[in-house]
């Protein structure tokens, strides 16, 4: 039955419906795969008992003729989503022993549609990172390795555990969250599909906050169709999240018509970075050619403020984080390191509880909001953000979607970019602008690097037009016919 893990969500859904196998069998296969994937460190907490119980309940529902959109489908949940009575860590020491008494809206939606939780996926601490090297629970390892090279590579971040779990066939899909590229970049690094919906499409309620105005949950899976199925289950208006948008959730799977004739696809000239690797440039061109061949109209566009996106992002996100993470003070939950007085307790708790990257961003953010610097940094960054959103708005007057690379490189090795945070931050250069503008974006595996590592292309759409993004992504996926899978070395 081990081949059950190789199924797509769509195929598993059909198999379950046809009675070819049960949810218990499907879940059992994934629990085995998850256990075997320990060297990847994709999970912080495995919840096989929860999974078996959920699968049993799912089979019972199906027997009663009830089946949700994800009935019986085993998923990994990024450990940034609060799950009732299940340890939730945000990959931080400071949340030691935190078992929420509530369930995030997105995971509640998934369970309501019959999905099964395999465990809580590893991530960069508080989702701050692009390589999954900042987790208190250790690095996540990419299932992919360079050809003829058995050194471990990073899975990208911050949803690196989710990406690794899906790419290693330990989970059929996973939830991620994307603040500046945290779904799309790891999807690109691990050869899977990752979709960041429009800001406001999925509720943030119960998701540990990093940067509130940017954070957005989304699906990660091995096909465009699977992410479409998942997003439909995850999304929806939530009165508990004031930034959630009250719009009907379309049938995203139905958007996959395979027909993009006449669709106008923009190619932003500012994304052609100086010094960009040739293979990324070539892959991008390949994508353009595929879209053209499928009948799309390719239009050169300009997003003039692109180069300011990264600096603006690295002010706004840390500024919000510096305030959002103030609640981790040792008073009510998580880690407390006693001190000689209250201030000492705060300092000791936060000093021990947060890792280096989180501290760096909290300091940057605190600085950017400080009296005398606010106007020069935070306010300026917000103005840049408005300009970037305006760039996209202008572009969408003439195009329906935008095609770019997802990341400037393939997965890299551990420590390769550890010394210089700025070089690490450059990983997000193609993903951050759409995050600042709140736009939907997807990464689709489109080819292999010369080292045999997956590379993704990104498609961006208009606000709340995930359907067009999915439609174009479906065509791109079919054209790319990306079937490569990592050798399962971790099974030893």
């Amino acid at each position: 039955m081990s081949d059950l893990t190789k199924l797509s969500i769509a195929a598993a859904r059909d198999g379950l419906k046809a009675g070819d196998f049960s949810a218990r069998e499907l879940t059992a296969a994934h629990i085995t795969a998850m256990a075997a994937s320990k060297p990847l460190n994709a999970f912080i907490t495995e919840t096989p008992e929860v999974a078996v119980d959920a699968a049993t309940a799912s089979d019972a529902r199906r027997a009663r003729g009830e089946a949700g959109k994800l009935e019986g489908i085993p998923l990994a949940i990024k450990d940034l989503f609060c799950t009732k009575d299940v340890l939730t860590t945000a990959a931080s020491h400071i949340l030691d022993g935190f078992n929420p008494r509530y369930e995030s809206t997105v995971t509640s939606n998934l369970w309501a549609e019959g999905a099964v939780m395999l465990g809580k996926a590893n991530l960069d601490e508080f989702a701050m990172g692009s390589s999954n090297e900042t987790s208190y629970y250790g690095n996540v390892v990419n299932p992919w390795r360079r050809q003829g090279d058995n050194r471990d590579l990073v899975p990208g971040g911050s949803s690196g555990g989710s990406a690794s779990a899906v790419a290693s066939f330990s989970a059929m899909g996973a939830t991620g969250t994307d603040t500046g590229g945290s779904i799309r970049q790891p999807a690109s690094f691990t050869g899977i599909v990752g979709m960041k919906p429009t800001y406001g499409r999925c509720s943030r309620w119960g998701v540990v906050a990093f940067a509130s105005s940017l954070d957005q949950p989304g699906p990660m899976a091995r096909s465009v169709r699977d992410t479409a199925i998942m997003l439909e289950a995850m999304a929806g208006f939530d009165p508990k999240d004031s930034t959630s948008v009250n719009m009907p959730v379309p049938n995203f799977e139905a958007a996959l018509t395979g027909d993009i004739r006449g669709l106008k696809i923009g190619i932003p000239k500012e994304y052609r970075l100086e010094g960009m690797s040739e293979e990324i440039g070539a892959l991008w061109q390949q994508g353009i050619d595929w879209m053209k061949a499928a009948g799309a109209e390719i239009i050169d566009i300009s997003l003039p403020h692109t180069k300011y996106a990264l600096p603006a992002y690295y002010i706004i996100a840390p500024a919000e984080a510096s305030s959002n993470l103030a609640r981790y003070d040792g008073v009510r939950f998580g880690l407390r390191v006693e001190g000689k007085d209250m201030n000492d307790m705060y300092a000791s708790t936060r000093g021990e509880g947060f890792g280096a990257e989180v501290k760096r961003r909290l300091l940057i953010g605190t600085y950017a909001l400080s009296a005398g610097y606010y106007d020069a940094y935070y306010l300026k960054a917000q103005k840049v953000r408005s300009r970037i959103a305006e760039d996209f708005k202008q572009a969408y007057l003439s195009v329906d979607a935008i095609l770019t690379p997802t990341a400037p490189s393939a997965a890299f090795g551990f420590g390769e970019k550890g010394d210089d945070p700025l070089e690490m931050y450059l990983n997000d250069v193609f993903t951050v602008p759409a995050s600042l503008a709140g736009l939907p974006g997807i990464s689709v595996p489109a080819g292999l690097s010369k080292d045999g590592l997956p590379l993704g292309l990104q498609l961006l759409g208009r606000p709340f037009d995930e359907e067009t993004v999915f439609r174009a992504a479906g065509v791109l996926e079919e054209a790319a016919a990306f079937t490569a899978v990592p050798a399962d070395w971790w099974r030893g």
Binding site: C82, Y102, K240, T243, Y346
Partner: protein, 484 residues
């Protein structure tokens, strides 16, 4: 009149501005559904949002928004259809989020003004700078454990309105009248219960001094004042402290000071240099607060008649004196009581009875109006007995006494005790004849021009009839008899 401090170098004027924190009357908190009621068991009214659990998000309580708009309208202020919630960041154990959600640059209510009535009959206009909505913090309990502090989060997230005045007040009395006026307005509006003992109204007071006509001096902010009396004491102490410094050639440091009611002094809490950098920025978890003109108009339509217009009406339509009208409108309950008594009756008579007899009895017995044994209809019935001549004003006071003690109705008491006024001319005439006969010398003096003695005869007749004789009838018969 402004307060003047006579210093060695001349007169000093005191300049005062107030920030009043008024707890919004609301069932639930500003951003969560937890109860905002006072006095519950510690930590029994705390939602996950209030406790700032990871991933929890604030959702604005529309009722609190309505209350803020209602208050703004009551303060004759500009209502901002677009306002923004900001985070005020600081660490404190009773502030679980590590920030207070408040409104900084764009408050829900802008400039307004109210009138205050001063003792000398003067009316002054006090400017309102702004009103904004914000969350209250929790409470640290230091007396529960020898070495540790306990935290009660019940109050955490309770909606507050901060009402900021212009520095328009010039004496502790003016500040006191201003606070009472704000209290009166919010109580009329039903937007705050104004209970200073329970902390639902607190004030921070900004005090500075200057030579009359000079620019404003450097101000100090006095924190944590929870009674009008303490506020006045604090202002007097602080103004004198500043004058002493300035006259000694020093300068006043801008700082936050705490008033100690036990020692009757203010002491430095933190200087401007030590002031926290709150790193205000718009709360990204909340959209800007927006509503349309129709929303404001809907609220405006439900506004009650406020103290100022009510006072004007009492003066103009009911013929009350400005003083009586002012006393009667200060509290809505009093005004309502008075209006119920005055309805269809002589308003001046009603005002006299409410302010004189009723308030007198309530004060003596330390009762509030709500606890009064004499309800408005009962007092009305008593006034009717006066008006229709059943009893005299003097007897009415006796009857009222009985009503207040026993809660009985006036008619029943009059009946029971046989206090009905005598208008029977025969009986009265007999009493008059007897009194004149008993005082022939006084009758002669009267006749020879000592008009004042009429009162003596009047009194004797009333005495003879145990006060039950109708004074009008007595006058009517007595006069011709004496003149004869």
């Amino acid at each position: 009149m402004g307060m003047i401090i006579q210093g060695a170098t001349g007169d000093w004027e005191v300049v005062i501005g107030l920030e009043i924190h008024a707890q919004v009357t609301s069932k639930s908190k500003l951003f969560s559904g937890a109860s905002a009621e006072y006095g519950a068991e510690p930590n029994s009214q705390v939602s996950f949002v209030d406790a700032a659990m990871p991933g929890m998000l604030p959702v604005i309580n529309e009722m609190a928004v309505e209350q803020a708009v209602r208050t703004g309208l009551g303060l004759n202020a500009k209502i901002n259809k677009f306002s923004v919630f900001d985070r005020k960041n600081y660490f404190f154990p009773d502030l679980p989020q590590g920030y207070q959600i408040s409104q900084y640059l764009q408050p829900i209510v802008g400039e307004g003004k109210i009138l205050i009535d001063l003792k000398d009959g003067e009316t002054r206009e006090i400017g309102i700078t702004r009103l904004h909505l914000e969350q209250d913090a929790g409470k640290s309990l230091h007396d529960q454990h020898p070495s540790q502090t306990f935290i009660d989060l019940n109050r955490c997230g309770v909606p507050l309105m901060e009402i900021v005045s212009e520095p328009d007040m010039r004496s502790p009395e003016e500040a006191a009248v201003y606070v009472k006026k704000i209290r009166s307005i919010v109580r009329y509006l039903g937007t705050c219960d104004g209970n200073m003992e329970e902390g639902s109204m607190r004030a921070d007071v900004n005090v500075s001094v200057r030579k009359p006509g000079d620019e404003f001096g450097t101000r100090c902010e006095l924190k944590n004042i929870n009674s009008v009396r303490f506020m006045q004491q604090a202002i007097i102490y602080e103004a004198n402290r500043q004058v002493d410094i300035l006259e000694a050639g020093g300068t006043v440091d801008q700082e936050t000071r705490l008033y100690d009611p036990v020692k009757g002094e203010t002491r430095s809490m933190r200087s401007k240099e030590e002031a926290q950098d709150y790193r205000y920025f718009p709360d990204p978890d909340l959209l800007p607060l927006e509503f349309d003109g129709a929303f404001i108009e809907r609220i405006r339509e439900t506004l009650p008649e406020l103290p100022d217009p009510k006072k004007a009406r009492f003066i103009k339509d009911l013929g009350l004196s400005p003083y009586d009208a002012g006393v009667l409108v200060a509290e809505k309950e009093v005004a309502d009581y008075f209006e119920a008594v005055a309805e269809g009756r002589d308003a001046k008579l009603a005002a006299n009875w409410v302010i004189g007899e009723l308030f007198g009895h309530l004060n003596r017995t330390s009762k509030s109006l709500g606890e009064s044994p004499v309800a408005a209809p009962a007092l009305g019935e008593l006034l009717d007995l006066i008006s229709d001549g059943t009893i005299s004003n003097r007897i009415a006071k006796e009857v009222f006494e009985e009503m207040f003690d026993t809660g009985k109705m006036a008619g029943a008491i009059v009946e029971e005790k046989g206090l009905k006024q005598v208008s029977d001319t025969g009986a009265i005439e007999a009493a008059i004849d007897a009194v004149i006969a008993a005082n022939p010398d006084k009758a002669a003096e009267y006749k020879s021009g000592k008009d004042k003695l009429f009162g003596f005869f009047m009194g004797q007749v009333m005495k003879a009839t145990q006060g039950k004789a109708n004074p009008g009838v007595v006058t009517e018969i007595l006069k011709p008899k004496l003149d004869a």
